[in-house]
């Protein structure tokens, strides 16, 4: 396995020969087959692959929202048995509590945290500032743009200090400009609050720009096709996008994904 590109060498997330079969109404679907990954503490890992290759399935299993059919997942040596507060999740659909204000949404995530109320309030305010939403504390989610809503979701997923942040195409519904800004914001937030990130996307630029390591998945069944260390120095800004290294990584990953897409298309032909 490729050694982690940055972060501590200690493994935080150990995914060991994990498989997932969906027993639906029709024939069983093998969503994921024998996926093994070791993710080091504070590493930023992006997972890319064609649609339906099992990216969300893998992320949900790490989150404990879904159980593997075979294999095991361990976090810090302890097997994952269900969702827990050591992991935060950001969904593609904004998934905010629309009946609560921005502040209310973020504070809601701290309900299970034992901490004096004043300290909680200060922490919530700090995260509101961190994601650039100062002045919008009392707004309701429906009054905000998509990018702003997703910033609330990021703050909500980080405020209780989980060790791991799981993100499933978090910027997939945003327009290109907003997405670029959100990527930079995410990196800034990540510099300030080091967590281990698993970031699912189908946008190769996004993956290379953000991650220390890009996992390219093969389709049908979902497998790890390639594990690429992105050794572009940090801190990164949008200028990286025209860097020759960036282009080289991008070309390699695009070629891999194209190969997978062609494979899937060939399988779908009668």
């Amino acid at each position: 396995m490729t050694p982690p590109a940055s972060g501590d060498t200690a493994t935080l997330i150990a995914i060991d020969r994990v498989g997932k079969v969906y027993e639906g109404r029709g024939s069983p679907v093998v969503a994921i087959d024998e996926v093994s990954l070791d993710i080091g503490r504070n590493q930023f890992v992006a997972i890319v692959g064609t649609s339906g290759c099992g990216k969300s399935t893998l992320l949900n299993m790490v989150a404990g929202l879904d159980d593997p059919t075979s294999g095991s997942i361990a976090i810090d040596g302890r097997p994952v048995l269900g969702p827990g507060r050591d992991r935060g999740f950001v969904f593609q659909s904004y998934s905010l509590f629309d009946w609560m204000t921005v502040r209310g949404n973020i504070r809601f995530a701290l309900e299970k945290t034992r901490m004096p109320a004043a300290e909680k309030a200060a922490l919530v305010d700090r995260f509101i500032r961190e994601v650039g939403l100062a002045g919008f504390e009392d707004a309701y989610p429906r009054q905000l743009s998509g990018g702003m809503r997703q910033r609330v979701a990021i703050a909500r997923a980080l405020v209780y200090k989980p060790a791991i942040l799981l993100m499933d195409e978090p910027f997939g519904a945003l327009d290109a400009q907003t997405r670029g800004m959100m990527q930079e914001l995410l990196l800034n937030v990540w510099e300030d609050n080091r967590v281990t990130v698993m970031f699912v996307t189908h946008d190769v630029d996004e993956a290379v720009f953000l991650a220390d390591r890009v996992i390219v998945m093969a389709s049908r069944p979902g497998r790890v096709k390639k594990d690429i260390a992105i050794d572009i120095p940090r801190p990164r800004s949008f200028e990286v996008l025209t860097d020759p290294d960036f282009t080289r990584f991008k070309r390699e990953i695009l070629a891999d994904i194209r190969e997978e897409t062609l494979k899937v298309m060939a399988m779908e032909r009668p």
Partner: protein, 278 residues
């Protein structure tokens, strides 16, 4: 320049003017016109009604004139009948609907949240809701006597089964990721139901309340069909015996009016309560 294009073109068509006016598909129209249309239609119908009766085209026995209806309403108001009837009926509606709602909300929420509860109850409720409530009057009397309880039971039966299925749908319509967000925050199922599922579904559930209380109103006459001495529905059934068409029509219109007022009240209240929902 212009002559050029005309010469080269086959036959220059004048640009078709963009269609304006009130009949564009799905396009908004000025609010005053929208409201005016809603007032104009009933007014025209009223005018036709008035013309038909005052010209003697139909006999008053079949269709009394609007003025006679107003006079009948005034008489009932003066004699205190209207208030007595309305208060009794509204009490029955309220209790019948509330009883249905208090049971339908928890069951609907559970059905919408747990597949096992849905599987256990949905086939049964879907069947039972098609039973004709009128046919249950004899049984309801046997079970609940001839007092208020029997009327309330009929209103309950007419409301509950529809309501529980609608609430189940309201709950199923919320974004699954809200529940998953709660799970990743370490919340237990009961907390997720109370603090995420119910608030998220509440605008939809409120709309179900509004719709179902309208249905309860329509069951009023059925509920007061037998063994009642007072009530808006009772008044109508009594009038049938004396062919008092003015009483029948006034009673029907009055029930419709109360139903409409209930609807408007629910809408207003809902808009204030769920302001966060746009």
């Amino acid at each position: 320049m212009k002559t050029d294009t005309i010469r080269t073109g086959t036959k220059a068509m004048p640009p078709r003017p963009r269609r304006r006016g009130l009949f564009r598909l799905r396009q908004d129209i000025p609010a005053p016109i929208y409201s005016a249309a809603g007032i104009a239609v009933p007014l025209v119908l009223l005018l036709i009604w008035w013309a038909v009766t005052s010209l003697g085209i139909v006999r008053p026995l079949f269709l009394p004139s609007p003025m006679e209806i107003v006079a009948e309403g005034w008489r009932q108001l003066r004699e205190g009948i209207l208030w007595a009837d309305a208060s009794v009926s509204m009490y029955r509606i309220l209790v019948g609907w509330l009883a249905a709602t208090v049971i339908a909300v928890p069951i609907g929420v559970l059905m919408g949240s747990y597949r096992i509860v849905e599987g256990a109850l949905e086939p049964l409720i879907s069947t039972v809701r098609y039973m004709p409530v009128v046919a249950l009057i004899p049984l309801s009397i046997l079970w609940a006597g001839i007092g208020d309880v029997q009327k309330i039971l009929i209103l309950f039966l007419g409301t509950f089964f529809q309501q529980v299925l609608l609430i189940m749908d309201n709950v199923k319509n919320i974004d699954m990721n809200l529940i998953r967000a709660g799970q990743t925050l370490g919340m237990r199922n009961i907390e997720i139901l109370m603090r995420i599922v119910i608030p998220a579904a509440s605008p939809g559930i409120w709309d179900t309340f509004r719709i179902t209380i309208g249905w309860t109103w329509t069951y009023l006459v059925v509920a007061e069909l037998v063994a009642a001495s007072e009530g808006l529905g009772r008044r109508i059934m009594d009038a049938q015996r004396y062919l008092a068409t003015d009483t029948i029509l006034f009673g029907t219109l009055f029930i419709g009016l109360l139903g409409l007022l209930t609807d408007v009240a629910f809408k207003r209240f809902g808009r204030a309560m769920f302001h966060w929902n746009r």
